[in-house]
């Protein structure tokens, strides 16, 4: 049973006077615990696909099922509740709230879950520990480096124990060394915590850390052979 399943998904939007269709009859299955990277040139709809899977954008047609829930049929408020439970979102520019400490930023998603304060604090502590920032919990984002900020963003994405974590260019705004550290962290979280990950990137080296690589080209999703990066197979 796949954790993420896209069936015949189409998505278009209007840009100026032109209608762009980045996703044309896309099918995709991601199994539990898989780490999938999604590559493609700019403007091909990688982020759009990510947004559709995480329920912050709506399909034109087709069906998306995540962890047994058909997200394409949920209302806006039910989608919000579902996201709080099932999806972790890692942003390119970490999107931390500057007036909250690292701890409070990580705690934000847990406030939406029905759980005791003790359990909430335990989860936040564990998430910060998992990203190696337990000693920076009381720091504000302005007191952290770019890499540390992204780690806090990752802790926030995993703190609710979501079934799926989506990451939109998670290393896009980092230097090479920090980017490598974040890649290692994502790989470790995928393997140790068995989190299903879908990551958008335009960087082939970053994409290489995934167990499965996909390429989005002209609205179609293509599977890239891990052993022979140049070779693709229809997805």
């Amino acid at each position: 049973m796949p954790v993420v399943e896209l069936q015949d998904v189409c998505k278009s939007f209007r840009k100026g006077g032109e209608i762009i269709q980045p996703l044309r009859h896309v099918d995709l299955r991601i199994e539990s615990g898989e780490f999938v990277s999604l590559m493609g040139p700019s403007g091909t709809g990688k982020s759009t696909l990510l947004n559709l899977v995480s329920g912050i954008d709506q399909v034109d047609s087709g069906r998306i099922v995540v962890d047994g829930t058909e997200v394409t049929t949920l209302s806006r408020s039910r989608l919000a509740d579902w996201r709080a439970r099932s999806i972790g979102y890692i942003f390119q520019t970490h999107q931390l709230i500057p007036v909250l400490t690292a701890y409070e930023n990580v705690e934000l998603p847990t406030l939406l879950l029905k759980q005791s304060a003790t359990e909430r604090h335990r989860r936040v502590d564990l998430a910060l520990e998992a990203v190696g920032l337990a000693d920076r919990a009381a720091h504000y984002p302005r007191q952290l480096s770019g890499g540390q900020e992204q780690r806090v963003g990752i802790a926030r994405a995993i703190v609710s124990h979501p079934r799926v974590v989506v990451a939109d260019e998670p290393t896009g705004s980092l230097d090479t060394d920090t980017s490598e550290q974040i890649q290692e962290l994502l790989q470790r979280l995928n393997q140790e915590l068995d989190i299903t990950m879908l990551m958008v990137t335009h960087d082939a080296d970053v994409a290489a850390i995934a167990s499965r690589r996909l390429l989005l080209d002209h609205g179609k999703l293509l599977e890239t052979d891990l052993n022979e990066p140049g070779k693709t197979a229809a997805g």
């Binding site: 982020s47 759009t48 947004n51 995480s54 912050i56 954008d57 806006r76 408020s77 919000a80 509740d81 579902w82 996201r83 709080a84 439970r85 999806i87 979102y89 942003f91 520019t93 999107q95 709230i97 500057p98 007036v99 909250l100 409070e104 934000l108 998603p109 406030l111 939406l112 926030r156």
Partner: protein, 384 residues
């Protein structure tokens, strides 16, 4: 589920100068509201307090509502006493106060001058005007006046100009200030009281303006009104004092309406100030608000948090304005045609001021918050 309270509070410190300026603007607006409501409450209170339900005023039927224009026969008090039974009598003294009431130009010893309200009374006046209390000095003797504690405000002169022992000039005669009196916030406090005979002599008049009579408990004003109708040669009318001041309240209704319009306009200005601040605060946080939606916060929760920010700021401004109003505005004397009264920042004024403040907070925050949340999350996440 709502966002943490700290989020709303700390957001106000993101742009401290902007928040501080908005706080100052809102506090000014709410202070103006306190000022206007204090004015309305003071005016209303002054008119309400001025009326005693047990007192009946008898004055000329031709004077409309203006006692200054009233002229009735000097023998009216005797006629009323001998013809009516409902007027209070104690130890052989009838509680009836013949009075001459006029507006006169008053010049003080230090050269200031203004129009004052002068009431010529007899020793029986305090028996009928029961709110009058001598604060210092003594009851006016020949050639003396007793000044109400707001009389200087009515004249537009410094308070010291009516200190005991000072001399004033009115009706072509010099008068010495013999004492100061209070009257529980009623209109008498803006008047100068002197001996009736002295005023009649100075004004070269022998008539009276009115007669005020204190009724026995349960006595009806109808008996006096009937007397006035039967003795139509005297051209008198009788009215309960509370009804007289109620009719004055109607007279000042346009003033109060205007004051309420000003309150509304000032409050609207406050809403725009609040809106301006919140537009600025929200426009820089479009991506942050989208992120909150992306991680599962409902729009309503985010909207509540943004409104919370506006309300916190408005509440702080209300508190600040309330404190300043209580210290500097409450009790401030104001001059107007009928006399003078003090601005009253009472419980009602505080309630109205704070309600206006909170409304400003809510209405100022709602449109920017709604605008920010209307954007699709996917688009807002990419906003610059």
């Amino acid at each position: 589920m709502l966002l943490p309270w700290e989020y709303g509070v700390r957001n106000l410190f993101r742009r401290p100068i902007r928040s501080l300026l908005t706080l100052a603007a809102l506090a000014t607006v709410i202070m103006l509201v306190f000022l206007m409501v204090g004015f309305i409450r003071g005016l209303e209170q002054s008119l309400v307090i001025s009326g005693d339900p047990d007192v009946v005023l008898v004055y000329s039927v031709n004077s409309e509502e203006s006692l200054e224009n009233s002229a009735i026969a000097a023998r009216t008090p005797e006629l009323l006493t001998s013809s009516l039974s409902g007027i209070v009598q104690r130890f052989g003294v009838t509680h009836i106060s013949p009075e001459m009431y006029l507006a006169a130009r008053v010049r003080t010893q230090d050269g200031h001058s203004g129009f004052g309200l002068v009431r010529g009374v007899k020793q029986t006046a305090p028996l009928v005007r029961r709110s009058v209390r001598l604060l210092e000095g003594q009851w006016p003797g020949p050639g003396e006046v007793m000044a109400g504690q707001l009389a200087s405000t009515k004249l537009g002169t410094p308070v010291e100009s009516l200190d005991i022992g000072r001399t004033i000039e009115m009706e072509g005669q010099a008068w010495r200030v013999s004492g100061t009196f209070a009257a529980g916030g009623s209109g008498y406090e803006s008047e100068l009281w002197c001996n009736l005979g002295d005023l009649q002599t100075a004004a070269k008049r022998q008539d009276l303006s009115l007669v005020a009579a204190l009724l026995e408990p349960g006595a009806s004003v109808a008996e006096i009104q009937l007397f006035c109708k039967q003795r139509n040669d005297l051209e008198l009318r009788a009215i309960r004092e509370t009804d007289y001041y109620a009719s004055l309240q109607q007279y000042y209704r346009p003033v109060r309406m205007l004051a309420w319009v000003v309150v509304t306009l000032v409050a609207a200005a406050g809403v725009f100030a609040g809106m301006n601040m919140m537009y600025g605060a929200v426009s820089g946080r479009i991506r942050e608000l989208a992120m909150l939606q992306a991680i599962g916060y409902r729009r309503r929760a985010i909207l509540t948090s943004l409104v919370q920010e506006g309300v916190i700021l408005a509440a702080a401004a209300s508190l600040l304005a309330g404190a300043i109003a209580l210290v500097f505005i409450n009790g401030l004397a104001v001059r107007f045609t009928m006399g003078a009264f003090v601005l009253r920042v009472d419980g009602v004024a505080i309630l109205i001021g704070c309600a206006v403040g909170l409304t400003i907070g809510v209405l100022g925050a709602l449109p920017p918050a709604l605008k920010a949340l209307r954007q699709p999350v996917a688009t807002a996440l990419k906003a610059v």
